[in-house]
């Protein structure tokens, strides 16, 4: 019974924490520009994420190491420092995007511009980190995130053409607008496969004191939680395709994205959209701030735990305090959060090999995992998806920049 509850809670938190500004913006953009044609990118990204999350949990449950901790000790400081710079830079941009997402949600609710919300929002996120425990962040915020299921309601109410949806799940090439198609596909992959989620998940396994007996639970949570989460992203794409596109409209403003909900639910849609985005971005902002602090603390061997009093892990708390403060600056300067989102998602995809290749080495290392190390299926699936993402990113990001 206890195990069943753990599984249920794990799935609920994965689903509630799945959507964030990246997945919503990229899926909405895809639906608005290309109809159902890019559904395959969400499917591919979700499959890869299932494998990666399962691996992260298994790695920490068996080895009692977090991924970052093991990366530093296995690959040494020079390599670690390069990875640190890459990961922290990308995660920082994503944090800016999430804080901006909270600001934009408040903007459409209140009419007050997001730049005015930057400081109060950052302060609120920081305060939850400062006062809250790991359990509060992991469970409390994700439970609230279940409001994002309203995207599924919206998609269903618009009566999608199921045959078209099924066809979209198979990859296809787009005739014209190849560069844009590729760029959005890359951004979707970057939004689905987020390395920070792995660091967060593996640190969580240590915070919750997992051991080998958690392997089956971990597997169920990864498969069900991430699949349902992926369905939410698909619902956003489908609803966007029906409500906005496909007519080549670019989503550049948050109000446009709100049409996803308002056309299906005229009365409550706007409010639901704003609240969903607010909660989803808040959850993600907390997870990313934690992941960045974990990265520093574990890599340099500081004491860390989100559940300690700040003075007991001063450097850990200092890190997220500074990071959250810095992330507010671009928003105060009115840098557009939607643009930051698209760029940071594509950059995530481009830097995936840096995060995932060393991780695959660890997952095959008998020193850490013994008999629980990866089989060839896991290695091939993750390896191939990462390769696809990287190649797509390297081709489409320059094309997108040239094309404006």
């Amino acid at each position: 019974m206890k195990k069943f509850l753990q599984i249920a809670l794990g799935i609920v938190t994965s689903v509630g924490g799945f959507l964030e500004i990246g997945s919503v913006t990229t899926a909405a953009q895809a639906g608005a520009s290309f109809g159902y044609k890019l559904l395959w990118a969400i499917l591919l990204g979700t499959i890869c994420l299932i494998f990666l999350v399962e691996m992260s949990g298994r790695f920490s449950a068996v080895s009692k190491h977090t991924i970052v901790d093991a990366t530093r000790e296995r690959f040494g400081f020079p390599f670690f420092s390069i990875m640190l710079m890459g990961m922290v830079l990308v995660a920082f941009l994503v944090l800016v995007a999430e804080l901006g997402g909270i600001g934009l949600s408040l903007q459409i609710l209140t009419g007050i511009g997001f730049q005015w919300w930057a400081i109060p929002v950052s302060f609120a996120v920081w305060l939850v980190m400062w006062k809250g425990t790991f359990g509060l962040i992991e469970n409390g915020v994700s439970l609230l995130g279940l409001v994002t299921i309203s995207f599924v309601v919206a998609a269903l109410k618009l009566h999608p053409d199921w045959l078209g949806v099924a066809r979209g799940l198979l990859p296809g090439l787009e005739g014209d607008q190849k560069a844009k198609y590729g760029f959005i596909a890359v951004s979707i992959l970057g939004a689905s496969i987020s390395p920070y989620l792995m660091y967060f998940y593996s640190s969580g396994a240590i915070e919750d004191k997992w051991d080998v007996t958690y392997i089956p639970i971990n597997r169920v949570i990864a498969i069900l939680g991430m699949s349902f989460g992926g369905l939410l992203s698909m619902a956003v794409l489908v609803a966007a395709a029906l409500a906005i596109g496909p007519n080549g409209v670019d989503i550049t403003r948050f109000e446009q994205a709100a049409q996803i909900m308002t056309s299906a639910l005229p009365k409550w849609g706007f409010f639901l959209f704003a609240v969903s985005m607010l909660v989803a971005c808040l959850g993600a902002a907390l997870e990313i701030s934690l992941a960045i602090s974990y990265f520093f603390a574990q890599g340099f061997g500081w004491n860390w735990s989100e559940s300690l009093t700040p003075s007991k892990d001063a450097r850990f708390c200092f890190t997220y305090t500074i990071i959250i403060l810095l992330a507010a600056i671009p928003l105060v300067l009115r840098v557009d959060p939607i643009k930051v989102t698209m760029i940071s998602m594509a950059l995530t995809a481009a830097t995936l090999p840096l995060a995932i290749v060393p991780f695959l080495f660890l997952m095959n290392d008998p020193i850490y995992l013994g008999e629980h190390r990866n089989g060839w299926i896991s290695n091939s699936v993750v390896g191939i998806v990462i390769l696809i993402s990287f190649v797509l990113a390297v081709i489409s990001i320059p094309l997108q920049i040239i094309g404006g």
Binding site: W130, S311, R315
Partner: protein
């Protein structure tokens, strides 16, 4: 034991299992007529930045001189204090006496405890 695989960059904990950094460097003694011996574990930014580039180490030292705890010597722990090696390396020392967590203490005292809700270190 394989020095690079099993020692370098490993997590260090003190007597009370308090995390006190990682094995940032190792000091070896080479005698005229004897085999080389590992004598100390080095902890701290100086050793760490040196592994990347001397210029970065110089810059870090300059910045650290302006802020932070006033200690310039690299923290060296004699190998004889190593109690156990495994997932972590356990040392028979008190972390705060070695200087390895000077920065932790400095940031706690000067920044974290001044923010409301930061908590206070209990007096020893």
């Amino acid at each position: 034991m394989d020095l690079v695989r099993d020692v370098l960059d490993k997590q260090l904990v003190d007597r009370e299992d308090c995390e006190m950094g990682r094995v940032d460097g190792l000091v070896m003694r080479i005698g005229e007529n004897s085999q080389p011996r590992i004598t100390h574990i080095e902890i701290g930014g100086k050793t760490l930045w040196m592994r990347l580039h001397p210029g970065i180490a110089k810059l870090a030292a300059k910045l650290a001189g302006r802020w932070g705890p006033k200690r310039t010597a690299t923290v060296r722990i004699p190998w004889s204090h190593v109690v156990a090696t495994g997932k972590e390396i356990k040392l028979d020392v008190e972390a705060r006496e070695t200087g390895a967590i000077d920065w932790e203490i400095w940031i706690a005292r000067h920044i974290i405890e001044r923010i409301p809700g930061g908590g206070h270190e209990e007096e020893e």
